[in-house]
């Protein structure tokens, strides 16, 4: 270990696959996808499969022992449960004597309640307590208040790469010695707003998504939250917490091509992977597995595959998109897939890219189709790309 390494010392996750690392790991190993019919979201679009968190708002409130008279959004509840697992594992509580940052990525914010109550806001005062919850920071603020003890909090919104950019800011803050510990990730619930938004773009598959397949029809939306805890070795040692792995490199770039489409040659994605590698000091041959952004849309998967080929040439590592399990958890995807990558690293397996049959014609890239167990996985790269071309890549490595 190098003194300045950024270590991951804990993590927490909640997606359609279940609550916590264990349920997530078992679903991944058993190739059990969470994509199915929606249950909680009050929409007319039941033809669209999604990956919903099975817990209702009420069930989450009760798991958290939260005062149910206070208004809450689903994004906040998801975030609280994922963070609870991470903080418990990290042995962080409100009196931990460290400068602890909490950085959360979200975009939809309180839209789940806003869209239900919007017209009522203007007709009467019965739902006014939800007005202040519709912006992105509301969930971060409520989550921080619930646990206490944070020295700095902020919220990032770069659409589907939000959580990855929270990881990047957190790591930078530790490196600059502005904080001791950074708790980073993202949270996002499903909303009618973005389900309909993605639907108008005609990028939602009516079947379970087939990332990197020639006949892919689009993505399935998901919801969830995940947070990881970052700190240096000195802090981990002092607090007597065992590191899981290290964050060995990362980069944030912009495709600067189109607001919702990726460039055909994946310039932003190419640069984010290349620069993350440079930042880590690793070579292309060191990467054992790429947890791809792989949404299942025609545009993303071609563009990302081109970018992967440009970076890795003919020796492409194992690739899979675990969005075939969790759906696209949008702003949370960066941390959800970081946790999945770390689970794969720790348990030496490559998760499958479900539903893949036929390679794409333009850029053939054959993802891993069944769980593979390997003797020793050392380095994993995870990609998160967002609308607006906000592309970020992170590399997690075993500690040797």
């Amino acid at each position: 270990m190098v003194l300045n390494d950024i270590l991951v010392t804990a993590m927490g996750i909640l997606t359609g696959l279940g609550l916590g690392k264990n349920e997530t790991l078992q679903s991944l190993l058993n190739q059990k996808s969470a994509i199915g019919e929606l249950k909680h979201l009050k929409t007319i679009h039941h033809e669209l499969p999604v990956s919903e968190v099975r817990l209702s708002d009420e069930e989450m409130i009760s798991l958290l022992n939260y005062d149910s008279t206070k208004p809450l959004t689903r994004t906040t509840l998801l975030g609280m449960l994922a963070l609870k697992e991470a903080l418990e594992e990290a042995k962080i509580h409100k009196d931990t004597p460290k400068r602890i940052a909490f950085i959360s990525g979200t975009t939809v914010g309180g839209m789940d309640k806003n869209e239900d109550y919007y017209k009522e806001f203007f007709q009467n005062n019965s739902k006014d307590e939800y007005i202040s919850l519709h912006d992105c920071a509301a969930s971060t603020q409520a989550i921080a208040d619930y646990f206490g003890g944070f020295d700095f909090i902020t919220t990032i919104s770069t659409a589907c790469s939000s959580a990855a950019n929270a990881v990047i800011l957190g790591a930078n803050l530790i490196k600059a010695n502005l904080v001791d510990i950074a708790v980073v990730g993202g949270t996002e619930c499903l909303s009618k707003f973005h389900l309909n938004g993605f639907n108008t773009l005609m990028i939602l598959d009516k079947e379970p998504c087939k990332p990197f397949d020639k006949d892919r029809q689009g993505l399935n939306l998901g919801e969830g939250a995940a947070y990881i805890v970052l700190e240096k070795e000195s802090s981990a040692k002092e607090r007597n917490v065992k590191p899981i792995c290290k964050l060995s490199g990362y980069a944030n770039t912009c495709d600067a091509f189109h607001q919702t489409a990726s460039s055909p040659n994946g310039e932003g994605a190419f640069l984010s992977m290349k620069r993350a590698l440079e930042d880590s000091g690793l070579s292309i041959n060191d990467i054992d597995y790429i947890n791809a952004h792989g949404t299942g849309t025609g545009n993303n998967d071609s563009s990302e595959a081109s970018a992967i080929k440009r970076v890795f040439g003919e020796n492409i590592p194992y690739v899979s998109s675990t969005k075939s399990f969790t759906g696209h958890t949008t702003s949370a995807a960066g941390s959800v897939e970081s946790v999945i990558s770390i689970l794969a690293l720790k348990n030496n397996f490559i998760p499958a890219n479900l539903n893949f049959k036929t390679p794409m014609e333009d850029v053939a890239l054959v993802p891993v189709q069944k769980t593979i167990h390997l003797p020793n996985i050392k380095h994993i790269m995870t990609n998160s790309f967002g609308f607006g071309g906000n592309d970020s890549s992170c590399i997690f490595s075993k500690i040797i």
Binding site: E115, N172, N196, G197, T200, T253, C254, G389
Partner: protein, 354 residues
Amino acid sequence: MSIYIQSLSQISIQEPLCDTWFDNPIYYNERYVEVIEPNYKQYINPMSSRRMGKILKRAVTTSLETLKKGKKGNEIDAIITATGLGCVENTEKFLYSMLDNNETLLTPTYFIQSTHNTISSQIALELKCNNYNSTYVHRGISFDSALFDAYVQFILNKINNALVGAHDEMTKDMFALYDKIGYWKQGDVNKEILKQSDSIGSFSGEIASCFFLSNEKNNDSICSLDGMTILHKPTNERFEESLLSLLKENDLNLYDIDAVVVGYSGDKENDMVYTRLKSLFFEDTPFVWYKHLFGESFSMSAMGFYVGATCFKNNKIPNHLLLDTEKEIINPKHIIIYNHFQNQEHSLILLSKC
């Protein structure tokens, strides 16, 4: 490590794209004031302009104007944007259409430009910039967070320059909603009422502002950013320790600070926090305000930064900006920008003459 403000630009409820406000400010008596729109033709071609919402036009224009003044050939290493509420106009259009038609007959146009990061991405698109790009959306410290991201990357030598912007629009709907929860004054508003600060609420303004920062000093450098910190619910001790270490790192004492720029807005609960700071640390230091000229909005603290820098540019702090003294300050050397949001998030920024 040094960071310099090279250029800056604003579109607000004062005369846009200039500093007329510095000598001849406009005072308002309304609770809801919209931006004075400049002529965008010079910056954006009419084809693109038609496709952009108001906030995008303002953001692109202030970015281009800032770079025109400050950038010297090199590429931009980071574009970092703050926006408390994002592209509200388009969000509302899509939301209404979804609610009115029960999730049918929707078109993607407004959705595409409804996410918060649309702004930073649009700037990258206009500038064809593939480098670092991020967006901060944390209410009253959105701008401070964006600046902090740049600051950290300067410290780590990851960037040599950064374009940092803060953009917020206020639609009639949003104004009405925030009115219901106490953001705006009930009854009359004017400069004197704001200064008295004996009721809750302020008045609503809109903002588009942009700053070009560089680690290289040249003739354009306006002032230096010598340090900053953002704290969440600090104890008194933690706050004091941060303030004093910010000064100490720069070999300064409290009495070296010529002025403190504060987000005093006329809201009594908000302003009490600034009054308290004064009584604790800055009893004899003049306080500067700016929200009486620009109004309140989530990323308005950017205008505190703007005002601080503009005072260095002009080598004075004019008396209309002074909250508690009358005499203008000539040749300021060190200014602290202090901003808080609901007494939860607190940010301190140190600017110095360079």
